[in-house]
């Protein structure tokens, strides 16, 4: 006897939506609306008091966005989700739901440049400080925990260096300290990895990337795993104690496995307002419908590009967990059995000058500040996404001046290789000049 609950590919298309409650519309309608009629005064009060479910105002929730939220929660194996205007908004909302002034975060040093800036520069203005630990330094996460630490945060595959955090072990460290583990799983999508299966408690995504997949729409999301016991210690009073903003409600007591999401929505969306537009939610859902087939192609193309780059005379080094010499090859096989993602970091011989020439001369690959598009993308992180970092910080974050970040698209693999040949050919010219 086996459960007949729907599986991943089916949930990608159907989760969170009931056509019979939407006039029979087979596709999710776009509720391009700000506000929702109350039946009467009692109904209005019931919605504001969290007595009943429903929509009040699209800053708090919206029917189209709600379908996306349920869909991603279903795909991740989470209890609940809350969508935001961008991935950065999701990270900020998640941290502000957990932390107060005087609190502390332990974070992987290898994170997206925007996240690094938030943690390093912006959150200290709110009294929230971060200690960074290299992603492979598992014991370092333990040593960095302080009395006022409220979570461990990291990207499973670090941006841009592709160093893999040992998520199960870091999760144990977090849980032994009574802390949740928050993972930015943008690079993986739930198709490649469900972080809740490896001990994560909160997952955040930039849906702008592979989930939406087509480079058309900004969106982010927080997903709650539902397993973390907020009441095990006194570290999270805003979740466990009486909350003045809702008649003395204790989110953890009242909502248990969805407490974090309920607080993020009731407080964070109400007060900060980083809401997602219904049109963008709909666009993201179009992407999610084909997530499995796209991710398969992204990953197979990426593995072919790894082979190509490893054999190329112009390439100094390649970092991708599918490469047998990658330090995290074995761990990646365990955590990412369906594919290691489509982000490749490689070093070009000739350093920054050659890298610049390469990027200026590829034509199919797009030079821009995004990843996870269906199209192949390249960037030189040290001069773009991570340009606010000084040399020492770059090194600590695993970056080098010769590094090129490649987000492999789903074009024909021969066309991508041919394009790269043009880039490498152009990159050799300054090297020849330098050798004279």
């Amino acid at each position: 006897m086996d459960p007949k609950t729907y599986k991943f590919d089916t949930l990608s298309l159907h989760a969170g939506y009931q056509p019979d409650k939407n006039g029979g519309s087979r596709q999710v309608p776009i509720y391009q609306t700000t506000s929702y009629l109350f039946d009467d005064v009692d109904h209005a009060a019931a919605l504001f008091n969290l007595e009943r479910g429903g929509h009040i105002y699209s800053r708090i929730s919206n029917p189209t966005v709600g379908v996306l939220e349920e869909r991603v929660a279903a795909l991740e194996g989470g209890t609940a989700a809350i969508a935001t205007s961008s991935g950065m908004a999701a990270i900020f909302l998640a941290i502000m739901t957990l932390c107060e002034s005087g609190d502390h975060i332990v974070a992987s040093s290898q994170v997206y440049g925007g996240t690094a800036n938030l943690l390093r520069l912006t959150l200290p203005k709110f009294g929230i400080n971060t200690t960074f630990v290299k992603p492979r330094d598992t014991e370092g996460f333990k040593k960095a925990i302080q009395k006022n630490t409220k979570c461990i945060f990291g990207e499973l595959l670090g941006n841009p260096g592709n160093e893999l955090m040992n998520m199960p072990e870091v999760a144990d460290i977090a849980h032994n300290a009574g802390l949740p583990l928050m993972i930015d799983s943008t690079y993986q999508t739930p198709y490649l990895c469900k972080p809740f299966d490896f001990g994560a408690d909160i997952v955040v995504h930039s849906l702008t990337k592979w989930m939406a997949g087509h480079g058309s729409s900004m969106a982010g999301i927080i997903v709650e795993g539902g397993k973390f016991n907020w009441m095990q210690n006194d570290k999270f009073p805003s979740l466990t104690k009486e909350y003045e903003g809702y008649h003395g409600l204790s989110f953890a007591e009242e909502f248990g496995p969805v407490a974090f999401t309920m607080k993020a929505r009731a407080e964070g969306m109400r007060d900060f307002g980083p809401c997602l537009s219904p049109q963008n939610a709909w666009n993201v859902m179009q992407g999610i419908e084909t997530l499995s087939v796209r991710m398969e192609k992204h990953c197979s193309n990426a593995e072919k590009m790894v082979e190509y780059l490893l054999a190329h005379e112009s390439v100094a080094w390649v970092s991708h967990p599918s490469a047998p010499d990658h330090p995290d090859y074995e761990l990646a096989k365990k955590i990412l059995p369906k594919g290691r993602g489509s982000m490749i970091a490689f070093g070009i011989k000739g350093g920054k000058e050659a890298g610049t020439a390469f990027i200026n001369n590829v034509k199919l690959a797009s030079h821009l500040a995004n990843v996870g598009d269906t199209r192949t993308l390249v960037i030189h992180p040290a001069s773009a996404t991570h340009s606010q970092m000084d040399e020492a910080t770059l090194k600590f974050a695993g970056l080098s001046q010769d590094m090129i970040r490649l987000s492999v698209g789903i074009e024909d693999i021969d066309d991508i290789k041919n394009d790269f040949e043009d880039g490498f050919r152009a990159a050799k010219k300054p090297m020849l000049v330098a050798n004279k």
């Binding site: 006897m1 086996d2 459960p3 007949k4 609950t5 729907y6 159907h14 989760a15 969170g16 939506y17 009931q18 019979d20 409650k21 009060a45 019931a46 008091n49 969290l50 007595e51 009943r52 479910g53 429903g54 929509h55 708090i60 929730s61 919206n62 029917p63 966005v65 709600g66 379908v67 939220e69 349920e70 869909r71 929660a73 279903a74 194996g77 989470g78 209890t79 609940a80 989700a81 809350i82 969508a83 795993g225 539902g226 397993k227 016991n229 009441m231 809702y246 008649h247 003395g248 409600l249 007591e253 009242e254 909502f255 248990g256 496995p257 969805v258 999401t261 309920m262 929505r265």
Partner: protein, 270 residues
């Protein structure tokens, strides 16, 4: 709120309002392996509309201490102890699934204390599938997956939670897995399997009784719910269409509307 019953700490949600001994009491009793949280879309309404609410965590469940009670009869007596412990001499009972068996047995044992009875997804007996029972008693997570499958109707399987962003199946699954499966779900399923007094208890009842049933319920089928209602004098029966066993969440608004009409009529605030 937390209080003591038989020297064990008990947790009950009061629906977001302070517990008030001067308001009529409604006690909500959850189903197998679940907790007070499954009632959140009913309890808060009554708490904000003049009632004192206790959505209990049964012993060994959720935030309550102690060990799970092993029979429906014990649970029924424990509900009586709860009523005494909070200083009331009468209450209205609302049960879901196994909670219906408990409410039914309690009302037949303590007719002077129970003023109305509301049964959701109930039946006179809930015999367990032997394979499911064995899985639960062995703490196999597959028991929870099967329960979530059986407990939700076709629409619930897709989602459509009334609270934006929540996903039915995974939320239910986490509620059940908040404690060791064999210690809660396993014990509860065995208690349901062993309980045989449902129809006899039903015949004894002489109080306003409401049955809310669902046409796509695969845990306690509609015909079994109706059979129980037929044994209860004057039972008021409502059937929610295109809904599974978890009607209190799958169709929370409809469930609340029916319950509200019944409670306000039969158990009004005086």
């Amino acid at each position: 709120m937390k209080f003591n019953v038989n020297n064990e700490e008990v947790f009950a949600s009061t629906g977001g309002r302070p517990f008030d001994k001067n308001k009529p009491l409604i006690i909500f009793i959850h189903g197998s392996g679940l907790t007070h949280m499954c009632w959140v879309l009913q309890t808060r309404y009554f708490a904000f509309h003049g009632y004192s609410v206790l959505a209990l965590d049964l012993p060994g469940h959720g935030l309550s201490g102690g060990k799970s009670l092993t029979s429906v009869e014990e649970m029924a007596d424990w509900i009586n102890d709860v009523i005494d412990a909070v200083g009331f001499n009468q209450t209205s009972l609302v049960g879901h699934s196994q909670g219906c068996l408990v409410a039914l047995e309690c009302a037949s044992r303590y007719p002077n204390k129970i003023k109305t009875l509301s049964l959701m997804g109930g039946a006179g007996a809930i015999p367990m599938n032997p394979e499911l029972l064995a899985l639960a008693e062995n703490s196999d997570p597959k028991a929870v997956d099967l329960m979530m499958d059986f407990a939700h109707g076709p629409s619930g399987h897709f989602g459509g939670h009334p609270v934006p962003g929540l996903y039915h199946l995974n939320t239910g699954s986490m509620l059940v897995q908040s404690k060791e499966i064999k210690d809660t779900l396993g014990v509860d399923f065995r208690a349901c399997e062993n309980y045989t007094n449902g129809f006899e208890a039903a015949k004894k009842l002489d109080l306003p009784t409401l049955s809310i049933l669902a046409d796509k319920d695969r845990m306690c089928r509609l015909k079994d719910g109706k059979k129980l209602a037929d044994h209860i004098k004057g039972s008021d029966v409502h059937v929610i269409k295109n809904c599974g066993h978890m009607m209190l969440l799958e169709e929370a608004d409809q469930t609340l509307a029916i319950l509200k009409r019944f409670i306000l009529d039969k158990y009004p605030i005086t």
